[in-house]
């Protein structure tokens, strides 16, 4: 289908069409940046780049909103032209994300024109909000790379949050986090038994887990937690500033003055990316996902790999769920994950089933999430609901291949041993 010559790749008509559509998207964004952000506003936005008590304080950044609008227009127009002429190959999604970030930046300047606005604050918040999304997405990556669809991420996060609240209140924060991970693993085991052993449809098994956990946690919240508030008062992990690193201007407070969940997220992304693509275990996992029959033939225990990986995915999602309670507010509320697991699913797809991609997508979605809160304060004409919709819309666009294509890596059919 695709032949590679020495100089350039020959693309299929569909790919060419997709690339052209993407180019048009850039040009439309450039047009919006020009008309709305560059021409439609006056005044400057003041961005705070440090917190009051930082060791090295940066001066506030004052940007002319329309000036930035012109610059972003130019960059997006260039990207559009480049995309139209040559494309960006494997970096398409990365460039798209960068283009989106630039666009968002111009948007921020436009929204905050004439006002002052803490960039450190919004980026800190974005990273925090990316945590459960990333954990969910990587849980999904681990399961799907081994050939099991995990729609139940939402339920696993919610179960982790609930366990975190109850176990955190009774046993302390660290046991709470461990137990949350274990409960996530338990649900994953259910998913694995249903799909691998009983060959239940994977999507139905996931839906079952979501409905079951939502019902169960809501039930026990109203039956037990409401009358026993002492069971729903988990200690909260405070931010822990990493010495030296947190002194780096801007990046320090954003990246290294967070709580343990954020650091766990960095570790998880690094470890899972390394393990999936650089270790024997990772190779076997992907082999089992892509060609189970072939993996079986060379002596890999397909079922054991599937069980193992889904179980690890469950631990990850359960631990990530504890973020909602132990890592954030300490108190469990009914359905407090509010669709974050599905955004994690979206991040997994947008990140092309790769841990680093998933993290990038989760950061973008987390940013949109934190922006949503800020927009209410800034009183812009854009309703915050539209920002909340953005991750879902982007996902549809990506799976439909309208803009860049995201293809699942695995063969998801239930494996039957010969």
């Amino acid at each position: 289908m695709t032949t590679t010559t020495e100089h350039r790749e020959v693309r299929t008509p569909a790919e060419v069409r997709r690339a052209k559509i993407l180019a048009v998207v850039y040009l439309v964004l450039a047009l919006i940046a020009l008309v709305v952000f560059a021409l439609g506003t006056e005044g400057s936005a003041t961005f705070g780049l440090s917190r009051a008590n930082d060791t090295i304080a940066l001066p506030d950044l004052t940007i002319s909103a329309s000036g930035l609008g012109f610059i972003v227009t130019a960059v997006l127009a260039f990207l559009g032209a480049q995309q139209w002429m040559r494309g960006f190959g494997s970096k398409t999604n990365l460039v798209l994300a960068l283009g989106m970030v630039l666009f968002l930046f111009a948007f921020l300047a436009w929204a905050a024109a004439g006002a002052s606005f803490s960039l450190v604050g919004i980026f800190q918040e974005a990273i925090k909000r990316a945590v459960p999304i990333t954990f969910g997405a990587i849980s999904g990556v681990l399961c799907e790379r081994t050939g099991i669809i995990n729609i139940g991420i939402e339920g696993m996060l919610l179960a982790g949050a609930f366990t975190g609240a109850v176990a955190g209140s009774t046993l302390g924060a660290w046991p709470g986090m461990i137990l949350a991970a274990l409960v996530g693993g338990l649900l994953a085991l259910l998913l694995a038994v249903l799909t691998v052993r009983y060959r239940v449809d994977q999507i139905i098994a996931g839906v079952v887990i979501n409905i079951f956990v939502l019902g169960l946690t809501s039930f026990y919240t109203s039956q037990i937690l409401v009358d026993n508030p002492q069971l729903n008062n988990a200690p909260i992990m405070r931010a822990w500033e990493i010495p030296l690193l947190s002194d780096i201007p801007f990046a320090g407070p954003v990246l290294f003055a967070q709580n343990v969940f954020v650091y766990a997220m960095y570790l998880l992304v690094a470890i899972s990316a390394f393990a999936l693509f650089r270790t024997k275990w990772g190779l076997r996992t992907r082999a089992v996902g892509e060609k189970p029959r072939a993996a079986d033939t060379v002596g890999i225990n397909v079922f054991r790999m599937k069980y193992l990986n889904v179980l690890i995915g469950g631990f990850v999602a359960g631990f990530g769920g504890a973020y909602f309670t132990i890592g954030s507010v300490g108190r469990f509320d009914e359905n407090m994950t509010a669709g974050r697991g599905f955004i994690g699913l979206a991040a997994m797809i947008f990140g092309r089933w790769h841990p680093v991609g998933a993290l990038s997508a989760a950061l973008v979605f987390g940013f949109a999430d934190s922006l949503q809160v800020k927009l209410g304060i800034l009183d812009t004409p854009i309703p915050s609901e539209f920002l909340a919709m953005a991750p879902y819309l982007v996902t549809i666009v990506v799976v439909a291949g309208l803009v860049g294509r995201s293809r699942p890596p695995s063969d998801y059919a239930a494996y039957v041993k010969e």
Binding site: I211, G215, Y392, V399, P408, A413
Partner: protein
């Protein structure tokens, strides 16, 4: 979905397991969804056993929700057992009485069953055509909003107004359903992903619309819509002039349940007696076969999803114009997800869906009573529903537990996200 699983006769011959027939996925598929055949064991006995199993597990969960009694197990197991027994018995008795114990409970059951049946049909039609419609919730929301606008915008005689509201619900849902159908047919984007995402988009869209002046109730800051006109409200089945029994408050059952049952019949007729229905089922049984037979598979996918969406949209209209009279944020709750359970339980057959819808309606109505009378939270109903799907979806589980000789093999509905 089925392209890569659609075994030709050659491949089927190589398949070691004798239970994989040359019909491709349809046999496995039919085990799960009940599409295409009738076997009393898998269509009646397995669902029944699944319900019983779910109720038993539900009883255990209720027992664990009672902390005081749990503590008693250590000191006085006998007393603890009898207390637990009483709690569970009271809960299930209240559940039963709240569902069918008198006119008001029956009215509640029927009121709640109507949107469930319609949403269940939306999922079942998708199953019949081999599509997994998780998007009933979003389709209901959009259909409901269409119905809402027609409901409050015009003032017409009821005989015209109500059909218009219904048409609005059908149209709104059809549009929202056709989108994933089109994307599936044209780009191969899997309908499971797109419908999940469209659910959330619809949810946010409704949140937003309810804050817009045109929709929002005058003088309110919270997101509540204007009420639909009296002429657009579904008429109640019982009125003060005509009621066959003593009452304190007139039971609120409205014509929604009749609409739902008639719709189920229409869908049965379309599926089993019309050409288009045959094509729907054909594309579900074997897309390649359907293509070779000259059917336009692309437009069939769009058509199936549009019909499914229209059914769900009708359910949304039922909520707006029938039960609630207005729209509130997420006014359909999780009906669209219950609908998946319902379609599986009803074996994707319209009659089965009606029966399952009545059961789930009864669970919802009884759950309310259970919460009030036995102090057992209504959320347990959702747990029971999840358990029902789990037991239904894994017939091997039921088989193992009850040693039923049903010839059922767990089924794959989808082969993943791919095309």
């Amino acid at each position: 979905m089925a392209d890569d699983r659609d075994v030709t006769d050659d491949v089927a011959a190589e398949q070691p397991s004798a239970e994989t027939p040359s019909g491709g996925p349809s046999e496995l598929f039919s085990d799960l969804t009940g599409v295409g055949r009738f076997d009393w064991r898998s269509n009646a006995l397995v669902p029944l056993l699944a319900i019983i199993s779910a109720l038993i597990v539900g009883a255990l969960i209720i027992a664990f929700g009672d902390l005081d009694t749990l503590k008693l197990w250590g000191s006085d197991p006998g007393e603890a057992f009898s207390q637990t027994w009483t709690t569970v018995k009271d809960a299930y008795v209240a559940l039963f009485e709240g569902a069918v114990g008198g006119w008001t409970p029956i009215s509640e059951t029927l009121t709640r069953a109507a949107p469930l049946i319609l949403a269940g049909l939306a999922v079942a039609v998708g199953f019949q055509a081999g599509l997994f419609n998780i998007g009933a919730n979003g389709q209901m929301l959009i259909g409901g909003m269409f119905a809402l606008v027609i409901g409050f915008q015009f003032s017409l005689p009821g005989i015209i107004h109500i059909p218009l509201v219904i048409a609005g619900g059908l149209l709104g849902g059809a549009i929202w359903g056709a989108i994933p159908g089109y994307l599936r047919a044209k780009t191969g984007a899997h309908e499971v992903i797109t419908t999940i995402m469209l659910n959330f988009i619809a949810l946010r869209l409704v949140d937003y619309l309810l804050t817009v002046n045109y929709f929002q109730l005058e003088g309110r800051n919270d997101p509540v819509s204007k009420s639909v006109a009296e002429s657009a409200r579904y008429p109640r089945l019982l009125s003060a002039d005509w009621i066959p029994f003593e009452f304190t408050r007139i039971p609120r059952v409205h014509i929604g349940i009749i609409i739902a049952v008639i719709t189920a019949w229409v869908i049965w007729w379309i599926l089993y007696r019309s050409t288009i229905g045959f094509e729907f089922r054909a594309v579900g049984a074997n897309p390649d076969g359907a293509r070779y037979a000259g059917m336009n598979v692309i437009w069939l996918y769009v058509g199936v999803m549009a019909v499914a969406g229209a059914l769900a949209g009708l359910g949304g209209a039922d909520q707006v114009a029938g039960t609630l009279g207005r729209a509130t944020p997420g006014f359909v709750g999780v009906i669209g997800f219950d609908a998946i359970a319902l379609a599986l339980l009803g074996r994707s057959h319209p009659a089965g869906v009606v029966a399952a819808g009545l059961l789930f309606g009864g669970l919802a109505a009884g759950g309310q009573q259970m919460q009030v009378a036995a102090d057992v939270g209504i959320d347990i109903v959702q747990v029971i529903q999840a358990l029902i799907i789990m037991f239904i979806a894994a017939p091997a589980l039921i088989k193992a537990i009850y040693r039923v000789k049903a010839e059922t093999e767990a089924a794959q509905l989808t082969s993943g996200w791919g095309t």
